[in-house]
């Protein structure tokens, strides 16, 4: 049920594609850094506790 975009199909689809790719990349990078920093902090806290 793709709508008929006529002669502007390429224009509309490229605008959506570029935007969605940028949003997905931003979300994935934010999640990845969040997990990475959380794990690093846990490791540092463990080390600090061990060292007294």
């Amino acid at each position: 049920m793709m709508p008929d975009l006529g002669k502007y199909a390429e224009t509309v689809l490229s605008a959506y594609a570029v935007s969605l790719v940028l949003i997905v990349v931003l979300v994935l990078l934010s999640l990845r850094r969040g997990h990475k920093v959380k794990a690093q902090l846990e490791a540092v806290e463990k080390k600090v506790r061990k060292n007294g």
């Binding site: 049920m1 935007s19 949003i23 600090v48």
Partner: protein, 245 residues
């Protein structure tokens, strides 16, 4: 409502505890509104009699442009809170919002260029709104670079807050450029409190849902990234304490 309770969230531990509960709900709502708003606009709205199917770009272009400006204004508020009350969480929230605002600015610029090509016959014009948006993008870049360049968190927060105050002029200019100068290619605002000036209802309602989706996506990402910045700051502080002995 006791406004003083708001400052409780300036406590990093309290902020992380609260966002543990809030973040999943905001994220689900964001995805829901984005999917409904974009699908409604893309699949179930008619073409415009002048712009043809390119009118469907409005559901991405307008919300991202709105968020590009409002993200900077949110950074302005949190920067002022940092300057006045020295709450680290507010400075870190501003830092967390900058990349999100920058991506929104890039989306607004790119979709504007893609839309402009068939409508105006050019990808780019030195139109007041387009130019002020490009300057806003450069301010975002500078703001992010300044945070990265300065090692001391408090100094970085001070300097970036000042940059944010200066950049706010361009954020506001981006919003009102079409009202100040009439010679540009860009049309006036698509949304207005005056119903006569609004886009037609058939485009207006899905646009409102898409805007809600972008706002919620922004909130979810800023909460997520602020939590990361709080943890990164704590890690830097612990490592510095370790090095000192």
């Amino acid at each position: 409502m006791n406004l003083n309770r708001l400052w409780e969230y300036a406590n990093p531990k309290k902020f992380i505890e609260t966002t543990d509960r809030v973040l999943p709900a905001v994220s689900v709502l964001a995805v829901l509104c984005l999917v409904v708003g974009l699908a409604w606009g893309f699949f179930f709205t008619p073409d415009d009699y002048r712009q043809g199917s390119t009118v469907k770009i409005i559901y991405i272009h307008v919300p991202s442009a709105l968020m590009a400006i409002n993200a900077w204004l949110m950074m302005l508020v949190t920067s002022l809170v940092w300057i006045v009350r020295r709450h680290h969480v507010s400075a870190l929230a501003a830092r967390a919002a900058a990349p999100v605002g920058m991506v929104m600015t890039v989306i607004a610029l790119l979709t504007g260029a893609i839309w402009g090509q068939p409508m105006w016959g050019t990808w780019w014009a030195w139109d007041p709104r387009l130019t002020s948006f490009l300057i806003l993008f450069l301010f975002y870049l500078g703001y992010i670079a300044l945070w990265e360049a300065i090692e001391n968190d408090d100094t970085a927060a001070d300097l970036t807050s000042i940059l944010c105050l200066v950049g706010s002029v361009f954020a506001l200019l981006s919003r009102y450029a079409v009202n100040f100068w009439n010679q540009g290619l860009h049309q006036g605002a698509s949304l207005s409190l005056d119903k006569e000036e609004n886009v037609a209802d058939v485009f207006y309602y899905p646009l409102l849902v898409a805007i809600a989706g972008f706002v919620l996506l922004f909130v979810a990402l800023v909460l997520l990234r602020t939590r990361t910045e709080i943890r990164a700051r704590r890690m830097r502080a612990l490592l510095a304490r370790e090095r000192m002995g």
